[in-house]
């Protein structure tokens, strides 16, 4: 279910196809498909965030209608409400780990000041420099904004903080 590299088929049809977790549970989707943004709209949003938050790079300017959850858990095929994230993690067989145990391929869950989930990101690199652990992630910011590569803390205020960490690795 999880995709790390580009080359994913384009979504087709007016309505999203059913998307299933590894357990066979059907992930709830909106009956309507998120409208696709124009390239110009995506470029404007990308520029806004590149000017606002330092140290981030645009991974993809894709206008295809998916969000952070769809990027990681649905092959970039749909925008899935973040409120379903705990069900998806459970049905896909993820388990919670400590931040220090993170490896590329693991998932970071962001939560706001009220403890509500706001965003997920995929760990793509971890660098330890002296005592500092730099965690680089990839995530899509909303359904109609670009994919970014960024450090785990470099996100808009709306997303709050990286709060929980999950893996589906078999080994510890």
């Amino acid at each position: 279910m999880r995709i790390l590299l580009p080359g994913v088929p384009e979504p087709g049809g007016e309505n999203p196809h059913p998307i299933y977790a590894r357990s066979g549970w059907e992930i709830p989707l909106d009956s309507e498909k998120l409208p696709e943004s124009t390239v110009k709209q995506m470029q404007l949003r990308a520029k806004h965030w590149l000017d606002t938050i330092s140290g981030i790079t645009v991974r993809s300017l894709s206008g295809f209608p998916y969000n952070c959850v769809g990027m990681i858990f649905a092959c970039r095929r749909a925008a899935i409400d973040i409120d379903h994230i705990y069900n998806i993690l459970r049905e896909d067989g993820y388990r919670r780990i400590d931040r220090s145990q993170l490896k590329p391929g693991d998932v970071v869950l962001y939560k706001d000041q009220n403890g509500q989930p706001t965003h997920v990101a995929l760990v793509i690199a971890i660098e330890r420099y002296k005592q500092v652990l730099n965690i680089q992630v990839m995530s899509k910011w909303g359904g109609t904004a670009p994919e970014f590569v960024h450090f785990v803390e470099s996100v808009p205020d709306l997303y709050g903080n990286p709060s929980e960490f999950y893996t589906d690795r078999i080994e510890p």
Binding site: L34, L44, K47, W49, G63, D81, I82, T118, G142, L158
Partner: protein
């Protein structure tokens, strides 16, 4: 700040970008409510209630402005901002706007907000207050979703509410917090001041 300045800000790339990153409707609503520009517009409209009409007209103008109808509406966030602001200050205009927004294609967040207003918010759904024929002090008014008791001797209108969900953003001062969310089998009774938008819409049924 003038209303035109607020229009410029709410239709800016910054506003659109900051709301477009929401990954769910709950997150979007929080972003909308907490946004400084949205708050400034609501504050302006509270101080200048007559300007609600201009916001409504601006919203209708944006609704009809989509140069590339096969793509997402470019003003989705701005329309949602106007809709939310209207809901805070003028429920009648907000209802009219929500009805138009819900019928416009290629909107995402604005349409979700409009549907929430039309389907789930008693304070902004005027049709839920079109009561039956029995008027009079202390008489229960029946409707599809709610019942209301009204007394000419009281400064308050009393609602007996049976809703699967009650969410109101403009509570009267005496409205207790507890009835905000009710289960489908729950009923409650609370005071609602006759002032404000609800009061105005109910004047038409006053015996």
């Amino acid at each position: 700040m003038t209303l035109n300045n607020l229009f410029d800000q709410i239709e800016s790339v910054q506003y659109e970008s900051e709301l477009a990153i929401a990954n769910g409707f709950r997150v979007f609503q929080r972003a909308l409510i907490d946004n400084e520009i949205t708050r400034s517009l609501v504050q302006h409209l509270q101080q200048h209630p007559g300007d609600s009409r201009f916001v409504f007209e601006r919203l209708l103008t944006l609704l009809s402005t989509n140069d590339q109808p096969e793509y997402a509406h470019p003003s989705d966030a701005a329309i949602a901002g106007y809709l939310y602001s209207l809901r805070e200050v003028d429920t009648i205009l907000a209802n009219m706007a929500a009805s138009r927004v819900s019928q416009t294609s290629q909107l995402w967040w604005a349409k979700k907000l409009a549907r929430q207003m039309l389907e789930g918010d008693i304070s902004t759904t005027s049709k839920q207050f079109s009561f039956g024929a029995k008027h009079g002090p202390g008489v229960v008014f029946s409707s599809q979703d709610a019942a209301c008791t009204y007394s000419v001797h009281s400064p308050h209108i009393y609602f007996l509410v049976r809703f699967s969900r009650v969410e109101t953003r403009n509570p009267a001062p005496k409205l207790p917090l507890s009835p905000y969310r009710l289960s489908s089998s729950t009923s409650t009774r609370f005071d609602y001041s006759a002032e404000g938008s609800i009061g105005r819409s109910l004047e038409r049924i006053t015996p």
